[in-house]
Subunit: 242 residues, 2 copies
DNA sequence: TAGATTGTTAATCGATTAACAATC
DNA sequence: TAGATTGTTAATCGATTAACAATC
């Protein structure tokens, strides 16, 4: 009933507190809805969403309710409004500027992700220690010497830092980010960073992710073993012959 | 009591079914333990682990119990054994070979992650469509034309495929992987892949991850606003002056 | 012995799922 | 009207946390 008002703080700012599992599903909803929209639809039901994403429709409904979206029985949700509600909730309307440190392959990859800007993240500059990289541009972004970071971050009020350096250097970089007033670190280095309480770290740990993959694979192989019979015998000696 | 036997299947194969949250913590334990070992310790307690990782010691104990590790009251766990138990459970002793498709920046980054091999993943070959890339080597790995993938995957019994191509091309690549008998796909493209049931997909979706980061940041900013007073005024005009 | 830590069971907490009335 | 879908409350499920005996 007065749920929508509960979602606002006294000053009208949306109070963004959804359960973490819900939060992780919201971008998936957004992506599906964009495709659904491209398909010419004007409304969408939780059943539609759940069918595609293999989720319980009730769960979808709860998630949508939690961001304050309202639908109509029998009809569903107005697609345009729902997409907008999602984008508003996710903060994709106002863009945060970010600094990236580590202009290697991973750094370059992230600098090239154009759609980050549609998701509220604009990487404005890269930093590195390697003199051969400093002064160049990657995907149009300048590569500056690392020691400029703290000063520039302060002056430009940068809140987000992205770390794509090797593990050994990550802590030093994090310290410089903290010094520059950065409040959130997206850490691609496989290491736990020390940091003051006011700074949050979001680890993108591919090694942990790999563990999940491997585990899913073994579980899957146990359930449905490979059609080995013919293959594993006839092809055995070819295994190393690239 | 007979917990350890419950962890085995009739044929002695370990039955790897731990809760997903537990699974995600295991690699963190491993990393901490390696550091703890480097510090000269020979045993470790759940208290030690929990202190460092900011986890409830009871939770750590349950997690370790779930992989069949046993400790001794007052002493803790023998570090060497515990690390080995983790590595065994995570399957890091036997390596899976993988094919990677998409020799761009992200692909190059992954090809350069040497430690994957210590985590049971060996990327043996890369594939691409770009003639200028085909025939080259990246981090020592050959880049082959994409159309060779299905045949080679079959002959080499490759089970894991990694997709680092743009979203538009990802489905086509996935289809070729499936054709080659690949059973697990690590998908870095921001798109949901269609696939037969016997194949598992593990999505590495940086856009979803970015949402988590942004949300943590806003929550954090609401709790502890920036020390703006002096900075945001004196430095305001410098914001765009790189 | 005293105290820290394991092993294990019970209580709590939170998310998912089920149920069902309201409504278009 | 009938039937699909929303909105909402209750039941279930599973993970985390608390409690405590066993033990070194």
């Amino acid at each position: 009933m007065n749920l929508k008002t509960q979602l606002k703080q006294p000053d009208g700012t949306p109070l963004k507190t959804v359960p973490e599992p819900t939060l992780k599903r919201l971008p998936l909803y957004h992506r599906f809805l964009k495709g659904w929209q491209a398909g010419g639809h004007e409304t969408v039901s939780c059943t539609d969403i759940g069918r595609d994403l293999e989720l319980d429709p009730t769960q979808v409904r709860k998630d949508l309710e939690s961001i304050g979206a309202a639908g109509r029985p029998r009809i569903g949700y107005v697609l345009k409004n729902l997409i907008e509600a999602l984008e508003t909730f996710l903060g994709w309307n106002n863009v945060n500027e970010a600094f990236l440190v580590g202009a290697g392959s991973m750094g370059s990859a992230l600098l090239g992700y154009r759609k980050f800007e549609q998701c509220g993240l604009k990487i404005v500059t890269a930093f590195d220690l390697d003199p051969s990289k400093i002064g160049t541009r990657i995907h149009g972004k300048h590569v500056l010497p690392l020691d400029k970071l703290p000063g520039l971050a302060q002056r430009m009020h940068i809140l987000i830092g992205i770390i794509t350096v090797p593990a050994a250097e990550a802590q030093g970089v994090a310290d410089m980010m903290v010094e520059g007033g950065i409040r959130a670190i997206w850490n691609f280095a496989p290491i736990r960073l020390q940091k003051p309480e006011r700074v949050i770290v979001h680890n993108e740990d591919l090694y942990c992710s790999l563990v999940e993959l491997s585990q899913k694979l073994s579980a899957n192989l146990q359930n449905t073993p490979p059609k080995r019979a013919n293959l594993s015998r006839t092809g055995a000696t070819a295994a190393l012959a690239i």
